[in-house]
């Protein structure tokens, strides 16, 4: 089985692209390449990471302009074909703006930029992004954002809950979901969600900043390990799909 290939998209203003690239290559030992926002090809990658940062200076709304960059046309087509896409922080905001994930991310309720370690409870361990966890696991991962306040209308929240598409919620150290564990005012303490098909995931916390043991935290590796495993398992299916289309 060949190693899955990852692409990390670099937008002007991305600042976690190198972190994501470093973790995938040096810690997880994967084949990784950068994809430039002006590229119009995904270079045959098996999974795309939209990294954190401030693409296009967060002008207008976070992610609103990045969503129209040439590479995003490819990312959207790739996602609609079942390709695996992960958006971290600004990447999550871009996925929402692109309509690949429901809802939106507003200014934090506290109005300040929040940069600290938080706890995340794994709500669904049966996904491509969390299969290495168990339901109810508590992960320690940092957040760093000014606009991470997740909002969606009641119907959307109900649909997310019903289909177990909420993957992570902000929690206390013991896993309880409380208002004080909510760092930004997100509805239902939501920190990460996936799309209906289960191939697109967005999360505000930064797993790539908690993966290198040198930094003292490695809980972020759960997300990458889950993703790598699911790519290894689904590869035949994916190739078959491409053959059928061609």
């Amino acid at each position: 089985m060949t190693k899955p290939k990852f692409g990390v998209v670099a937008f002007p203003g991305s600042n976690c692209d190198h972190d994501a690239h470093y973790v995938l290559q040096e810690i997880m030992h994967q084949d990784v390449r950068f994809l430039w926002h002006k590229d119009s090809s995904l270079d045959g990658v098996d999974a795309v990471v939209l990294p954190g940062g401030f693409s296009y200076g967060d002008y207008l709304r976070c992610g609103a302009i990045a969503r129209f960059s040439p590479i995003m046309k490819e990312v959207i087509a790739f996602a609609n074909d079942g390709g695996m896409v992960v958006g971290i922080c600004n990447g999550f905001q871009i996925l929402c703006e692109a309509g690949l994930l429901p809802g939106a991310l507003l200014r934090n309720e506290c109005l300040t930029f929040v940069c600290k370690y938080i706890y995340l409870r794994v709500e669904n361990a049966g996904t491509a992004f969390t299969s290495d966890c168990r339901r109810g696991d508590v992960l320690s991962v940092p957040i760093a954002h000014g606009e991470g306040n997740y909002v969606a209308d009641d119907d959307t929240i109900r649909a997310l809950e019903k289909n177990q598409r909420i993957l992570f919620r902000y929690c206390e150290r013991d896993g309880s979901i409380t208002a004080s564990a909510n760092p930004n005012g997100s509805r239902g303490n939501i920190a990460g969600i996936m799309n209906e098909q289960g191939n697109v995931m967005g999360m505000m916390p930064h797993p790539e900043r908690a993966s290198d043991p040198v930094l003292g935290h490695t809980d972020g590796q759960y997300v990458f390990r889950s993703l790598i495993r699911s790519l290894m398992e689904r590869e035949p299916f994916h190739h078959q799909m491409i053959e059928e289309r061609s």
Binding site: L60, A64, A104, L106, E109, N149, V151
Partner: protein, 82 residues
């Protein structure tokens, strides 16, 4: 040439923490008469169009595609001839 002025505001159902903070500050400036504050954006577009109706169509399209996010924002606009 036409000038479109687009006003983008957070939808009523969405809490506006910025507006709340400003409201709080106005209260401490001894302006208790201010009952609520909502903060939005004013965006001006210069549009080269043959008619006002065309300019309005362009503005509406810009709003729907980029300037406002319907999940959290509403927009209104006015168009005037320059």
């Amino acid at each position: 040439m036409y000038l479109a002025k687009v006003v983008v505001t957070l939808r009523k159902s969405i809490l506006d923490p910025q507006g709340k903070a400003v409201h709080h500050a106005l209260g401490s400036l001894n302006l208790p008469a201010v009952q609520d504050v909502r903060i939005g954006k004013l965006i001006e577009l210069k549009i080269d169009a043959a008619t006002k109706a065309d300019a309005e169509r362009v503005t509406a399209e810009a709003c729907k595609k980029l300037l406002a996010n319907p999940v959290m924002e509403d927009f209104t606009f006015s168009v005037e001839k320059l």
